[in-house]
């Protein structure tokens, strides 16, 4: 319950960030540099509730706007990682054999690298210039589309008109977003992502998906021996229908719990490049880079760094407690 409350608190903070934030997170008020919490503005229009930072910006507003940044990117990255992990993990566990060996080898290869090294390898300008992160994005962002297409195709295979509609919608919307996100070539110019945010996003997805792959594969190996899978096979269902509509819904318990845990972990991960000043733009109010800016004057003015630090900590703590609660719920029945 405490976990749920904490997560909801930050969730609503992110939604209503525009209303809550009292000042523009990038606005600079003269005379407010490194002021302690609760200092009134010199022109008498209000207060900096949590003080001003090294560039005289409002710490409170930056924290609130940072919540929005974090709560958009972290769940989205986790969702993408899950799509990739599920799309690869299901066939690996279900078919086994050479496919399984090949995919597991790839996953172990990625897992052998310490996370931070992968970050550095992907974010360093010279490697960005070679285009590796971009191609990685192109490959990784395809997986959600593949996943949804297979999902609808296997479900409505016997009803071609309905199937065609669903797959058509998925392809049009999916490819549109795909072009916008991965290639920054959206024909309508609505969907786009800053290149540096894209790189961080891709690295996080890339780092997380092997772990999800392993979890899904393990669950599938367990579930595929159940009777209802055998029943579906006797009915003559195709392998993808069994995987996506028989096995996956029954694997949801552990996956949802892991999803919650992984959002927390992704939040930490997203803060890491911000902390090193990599990737995200230097002015961005996200918590990782705010901590990084604040730490330079940490021993004299601790509040600019301490506020986002506590915010990050409470969000991750909330997610962890929520995952624990969900696990107890799912074990009950």
């Amino acid at each position: 319950m405490v976990g749920f409350a904490l997560v909801l608190f930050w969730f609503f903070t992110a939604i209503f960030a525009d209303t809550i934030a009292m000042y523009d997170p990038l606005a600079i008020a003269s005379g407010m540099k490194n002021k302690v919490p609760g200092t009134p503005l010199p022109d008498g229009t209000g207060y900096y509730l949590l003080g001003g930072d090294g560039l005289s910006r409002d710490v409170f507003s930056r924290m609130v706007m940072g919540a929005r940044e974090v709560l958009i990117i972290a769940p989205a990255a986790t969702l993408f990682a899950f799509m990739v992990g599920i799309t690869l993990g299901l066939p690996a566990g279900f078919f086994g054999g050479r496919l399984d060996i090949a995919l597991s080898f790839l996953a172990n290869l990625v897992l052998a690298f310490p996370v931070i090294l992968l970050f550095y390898l992907l974010v360093t300008p010279e490697i960005v210039k070679t285009g590796i992160p971009k191609y990685l994005a192109a490959v990784l962002f395809l997986f959600p589309i593949i996943f949804l297409v297979i999902l609808f195709n296997s479900r409505f295979f016997v009803q071609p008109p309905k199937r065609n509609i669903y797959i058509g919608i998925t392809l049009i919307v999916g490819l549109w977003i795909y072009l916008g996100l991965a290639w920054n070539a959206d024909p309508l110019g609505i969907v786009s992502m800053q290149p540096n945010v894209l790189i961080v996003f891709v690295s996080v997805v890339f780092v997380n998906s092997p772990t999800v792959f392993r979890i899904v594969r393990g669950i599938v190996l367990d579930i595929k021996t159940r009777d209802y899978v055998a029943a579906a096979q006797t009915r003559g269902e195709g392998p993808w229908y069994i995987m996506l509509w028989e096995i996956l819904p029954n694997a949801r318990g552990p996956l949802i719990v892991d999803f919650c845990l992984r959002i927390g972990y992704t939040t930490i991960l997203l803060g890491t490049p911000g902390f090193f000043g990599l990737g995200v733009s230097p002015d961005s109010p996200d918590w990782g880079s705010t901590i990084n800016h604040g730490r330079k004057l940490l021993s004299i003015y601790p509040h600019p760094a301490l506020v986002p630090a506590i915010a990050l900590m409470s969000l991750v703590l909330g997610l962890n407690l929520l995952a624990d609660g969900l696990r107890e719920e799912s074990l009950r029945d």
Binding site: A112, T272, P302
Partner: protein, 213 residues
């Protein structure tokens, strides 16, 4: 890193065993919450908080030094405590939770009940009967912590200005020095693979039920 292991492993095991020996007790609840809280705190957050509390010259206690630069030449309690504690704290929670889970499982086993019915003292049951069996699972987890330790080392070395492996890595990335970066990766991956090998071999020694086919 040795110091971190020296602090992290015993502390985590003690917390895990204390929490797991009476599942659901008040002590268990308190220690579990504590370990969740420490795993929820990334190094760059706990490091910042520690510096603010213990080293900040404005509001802090000024117990320890806020940088570990001087620890390059001479390691003292004053300049090395905060970095070590910062790295260790993140791992402690995780290992403690694993230890707690395996301890709680062992405590429900048949031979523990037999021992209790025989009239063995509770302390002896925990120390002699349960502990050895409960330590098999955490061993793997401890060895698997090495990749995370490397991760933490990079962050903490940057935060505390200690010029070690992580510092080299950050400098290499900052100077766009791909060769040095790749060399660092080779070293890191090598260390990780070695620890995985040790954990696989050690697992067989700890658990005689496992046979190599």
């Amino acid at each position: 890193m040795g110091c971190v292991m020296l602090l992290m492993v015993p502390a985590a095991l003690i917390i895990g065993v204390l929490a797991g020996m009476r599942e659901g007790s008040r002590l268990d609840r308190a220690l579990s919450t504590l370990s969740i809280a420490t795993t929820a705190t990334p190094e760059y957050v706990s490091g910042v908080i520690f510096i603010a509390i213990f080293a900040s010259s404005a509001v802090g206690l000024k117990w320890f030094a806020g940088t570990a630069t001087s620890a390059m030449d001479q390691i003292t309690f004053n300049n090395f405590t905060l970095p070590v504690v910062t790295i260790a704290l993140y791992g402690i929670g995780y290992i403690a939770r694993m230890t707690r889970a395996s301890m709680a499982e062992v405590m429900t086993a048949q031979y523990i009940r037999t021992a209790r019915l025989k009239g063995v003292r509770f302390r002896n049951i925990v120390m002699k009967h349960a502990l050895r069996n409960a330590l098999i699972a955490p061993f793997t987890v401890i060895m698997l912590q090495f990749p995370w330790l490397l991760n933490g080392v990079v962050i903490v070395e940057t935060l505390f200005n200690y010029k070690g492996f992580g510092w080299t890595l950050v400098e290499a990335a900052g100077n766009n020095d791909i060769e040095l970066l790749l060399a660092c990766s080779v070293v890191a991956v090598f260390v990780v693979l070695i620890t995985q090998l040790i954990s696989d071999i050690g697992y067989v020694f700890l658990n005689p039920r496992i046979r190599i086919s």
